[in-house]
Amino acid sequence: MIKWLAVLLGILYSAQMYANENINARQLLKDMSMAVQKRNFDASFVVVKGKGMEPYRWLHGQVEQTDLEILTLLNGAGLEVVRIDDVVTYFEPQTEPYSLSTDVIDGPIPEALLRDIGALDQSYDFVLGGKERIAGRPAQLVRLVAKDETKYNYWLWVDLQSALLLKAAYVNQRAEVLEQLQLTHISVTEKPASQLLDLKEKALPTPVSGIVDVPDVKQQNNWQIGWLPKGFKLLKSDRHKLDLNNELADYFLYSDGLVEVSVFVQRPLTGQRASGALTSGATTVYVHNAGAFDVSVVGKVPVETAKSIAESVKRSL
């Protein structure tokens, strides 16, 4: 009888522990997303993809109730993204700058982590890891563990003092790091940086309406995508020309809250080509030659997942 009681207590206790742990990991991520949204900071970080490296600078501040943010890719011709409240403007080489009505910059850090971590519940478990020293500061590891093996895991190291993100990595199911992001410098200040103050005076392009016609863009149904990993939802589908080579493609965009996957169906290229995958960091490009058409899948998912998605695409009857 006493034995049973002990076992029962043990089970209860471990369940309690588990619940606590869960709350803490979740709370830490919530604190992080709040810190990123509220604090004035000037940070530099690098993204390492295999042998490649991309340095970024990231500024955020609040000036008279206006939320201002700048993200700049520092190498090459670069990319500059500017956010004023819920208008995000992208400055890119070779393209006219354009604005979108969205309240978050699409950068190397998944948007859900900067805004609404609730979007991750369906596909990921939050697990608290150990404490480590990152960028010279004590940090807490939080792991987003994918609920099945069709997705990558995402690990984050959060500053214990400021709750800001210090390091993050896409990790595969064998715990191999595929792509990581590491802060090299951060200064959290009372007042926002001067670049942000200048930003307020700039006239930016008016946002192109991307979401107004959502119900319509979902009408595309020439193709049936037979299989998707659990948790992925269709965000849009349409037929449009690709910017770079002017090729026509039937397009589908999916997201599981953390990562996006694009599916393209195009006319086949001539010649005998085997299907195959390309990877760069966590990003996979899988090109499937289905004979009468080509299916390409792009996204931060394992090669096997991209392959399964691509091969499941069929002409709808």
Binding site: G78, E111, L244
Partner: protein, 201 residues
């Protein structure tokens, strides 16, 4: 006559003072030609290749004079153009990069992605196999092998297809990046729509 003699005398005195052959005192200073002294020391410095941290030849006055004599072309039009440009700059040119450089770089960034990828281009079944450490041949994987006897035309055709495929992959990666930018807003929208639907039911 006396004037020119005085000049010559001055010149000599200046030179002597510069060379420390004559002591600089109130008497000799009266004969010192300051302009000449500066010029002589500059000549000396240049000949000794002394590092000139500040330019000593002051040409601003002469340049300013020359500019003042230049005829003025359509001053108002120029000014208008400048303000126009300034306005445009304010709208578009807020970043640090300029057009010519950026054109190189987009090609480079797309190339980077594909080139990095091509190294990893391998058949699906050998994704997990480790490449041997010593490799005389690059790991080309599923790119179909070209036999030595095949005709050059075939090779170039194959290269053409590969080039096209490379181009297409570059375009796909870029398009994925662009489309992902709306993902967050779209997913929020879908969520709201779902909520709305539930409430209606």
């Amino acid at each position: 006559m006396t004037q020119s003699k005085f000049d010559v005398n001055n010149e000599q005195m200046t030179s002597e003072i510069l060379d420390a052959e004559r002591e600089l005192n109130s008497e000799s200073q009266a004969h010192l030609n300051a302009d000449k002294f500066a010029r002589y020391s500059l000549i000396g410095d240049v000949m000794r290749q002394k590092d000139q941290s500040t330019p000593c030849i002051d040409i601003t006055a002469s340049v300013a004079a020359a500019i003042a004599e230049e005829p003025v072309y359509n001053m108002t039009e120029d000014a208008a153009q400048q303000t126009q440009q300034a306005k445009e700059n304010n709208v578009v040119q807020m970043s640090f990069w300029r057009k010519p450089l950026s054109q190189v770089a987009i090609a480079a960034s797309v190339a980077l992605c594909t080139v990095v990828g091509v190294n990893n281009f391998m058949p699906q079944n050998s994704i997990d196999t480790q490449a041997p450490v010593l490799q005389s041949m690059p790991l080309t994987g599923s790119v179909s092998p070209v036999s030595l006897s095949s005709e050059p035309a075939m090779q170039s055709a194959e290269r053409g297809v590969r080039e096209l495929q490379k181009q297409r992959i570059g375009a796909l990666v870029l398009e994925h990046q662009r489309q992902s930018r709306m993902a967050h807003a779209l997913s929020q929208n879908t969520k709201q729509a779902e909520k709305g639907n539930q409430e209606e039911q």
